[in-house]
């Protein structure tokens, strides 16, 4: 049984100028006892939730509320500072779908890399290679290095590869249909099928209409804590009211 359980999870995100400690900072800190100014942002603050098999959960909130951090914490990418995280089931995380491609490799080669990153074997990739290529509608462009692709074409390829997996727990960050209008229609159908195949889906998004269509439960995050958690219609209604009030103020 796939399941996600977070108990009072706290996540501190260290922030430093230039993101790294330089030798100068280190010497200042250790020898002269001067703090070079590292600071910690509390990205998640006491998050407790349980998501059972079959649930389709949307995550909403303003920018910086901790939505993407929550997904990355569930995926095991970010370590929790306090509390506990239990995830039963194979996690398939799709964040920044256009990132992580090899620009010098061809479209076909990139399909392989993406699939291998998700733990697939060459036999499985080979079996669905043609289907992925056909769905992307990139035709002969798949023979070219990725650096020759437009952004839309790269996104199309990424979408085609990502939605070809068999996920147990699916984590999506702003990952919806992409490309031109014709591809968007096709992409939405593919997305629906993809979401149906997963046992648990957790998706972050600002497209509330999309969440209304696909989710039966929504979490509203605010400054690292859960402000509301409940049925989609109810939470989205509260969120819309709050946003309208914020704009009016």
């Amino acid at each position: 049984m796939a399941c996600i359980e977070l108990d009072n999870v706290v996540l501190d995100y260290p922030v430093r100028p230039h993101r790294r400690l330089t030798l100068k900072d280190f010497v200042l800190q250790r020898v002269f006892g001067r703090e070079p100014g590292p600071s910690v942002v509390r990205a998640l603050n006491g998050i407790s939730l349980r998501i059972e098999e079959g649930e389709r959960v949307g995550v909403i909130g303003r920018n910086g509320a901790g939505k993407s951090t929550l997904l990355r914490t569930i995926a095991g990418i970010y370590p929790v500072a306090r509390g506990s995280r239990r995830v039963d089931g194979r996690v398939c995380s799709l964040f920044d779908i256009a990132v992580g491609f090899e620009p010098e490799a061809t479209g076909w080669q990139n399909i392989h890399y993406r699939a291998y990153l998700q733990g697939e074997s060459p036999k499985i990739v080979q079996a669905k290679l043609r289907a992925i290529g056909d769905f992307s509608e990139l035709g002969e462009f798949l023979e070219l290095p990725l650096r020759c692709y437009s952004t839309g074409m790269t996104l199309r390829l990424a979408f085609s590869v990502a939605t070809s997996t068999e996920p147990e727990i699916l984590l999506l960050d702003e990952f919806f249909s992409t490309g031109d209008l014709g591809f968007q229609k096709k992409g939405e159908l593919r997305m629906r099928d993809f979401l149906d195949r997963a046992r648990i889906v957790l998706m972050v998004g600002h497209n509330l209409t999309f969440l209304e269509k696909f989710c039966d439960r929504v979490l509203w995050l605010h400054q690292g804590w859960i402000r509301a958690d409940g049925p989609t219609a109810q939470v989205l209604s509260e969120y819309r009211h709050a946003m309208t009030a914020a704009v009016a103020a």
């Binding site: 990355r72 920044d96 291998y116």
Partner: protein, 268 residues
Amino acid sequence: MRRNLELFWSYVCGIWRLRFFWLSLVRNDLNNRYSRSFLGIGWSLVRPLAMTAVFCVVFAHLFQVNWREYAPFVLLGLTVWQFLTETILNGCDAFTRAAPYIRQQCVPMAIFPLRTVLGAGFHAIIALGLAVVLVWWLKGVDVAVVVCSLVPAVVLLFFLGWFLAIVCGVLHTHFYDTRHILEIGMQILFYLTPILYHPDSLPGQRHLLSWLEWNPLTAVLEIVRRPVLVGEWPLWAHYQMSLALLGLAAVSAIWSLKRRERTLVFWI
């Protein structure tokens, strides 16, 4: 203890599960390196040969040695040194280069330094093969015996390179100066390790000889050189010192991954 062993085993299984991923990255790195060049992979042969030729012209005369003895000696030394330098310096960027993958999925971080060491290892194996052929041509040694006695040395070098790349990668992720310091350090160490000269060619240099005796890289070089140049198994003392260095590198790599692996994502 048992819990730690289980964790270690599941970590190794995680690396194995993703073997197709890191192997395809290595293949891609090699393709990128040579795809648009005229000689392609031939550069892996030409480069060590050209370096050896240059050093032969200069140092064979300087140290008063026969070039037939000196050429394989220096080629082997440069091969091992090039491998270690490449793994250490490129290992510094192993995690930052892999940032898009690290931010995308929870994977064992050791696969990224592994990518570095396999790329460097590919060139080292070609140069090593070249050295064996050169010695066979010049001296007529038994290639089968040489290859067999080289196997433990190659395995040891592979793991040493991997562990060093892990340590340097973790360090560089936190201290941005690491790579610059290591570049200078490796330059100094190059002259303090018997790569271009044999310790026997330095009579009277008591301090330098004493340093060379205790420099573990001398032992690492010897476990590669002796089978090829002399056609005999390396000395046990050289194995011991090399294994001690490997052990130290392994402990440092495991410790740094245990302490820092999960938080590396914040620094890349």
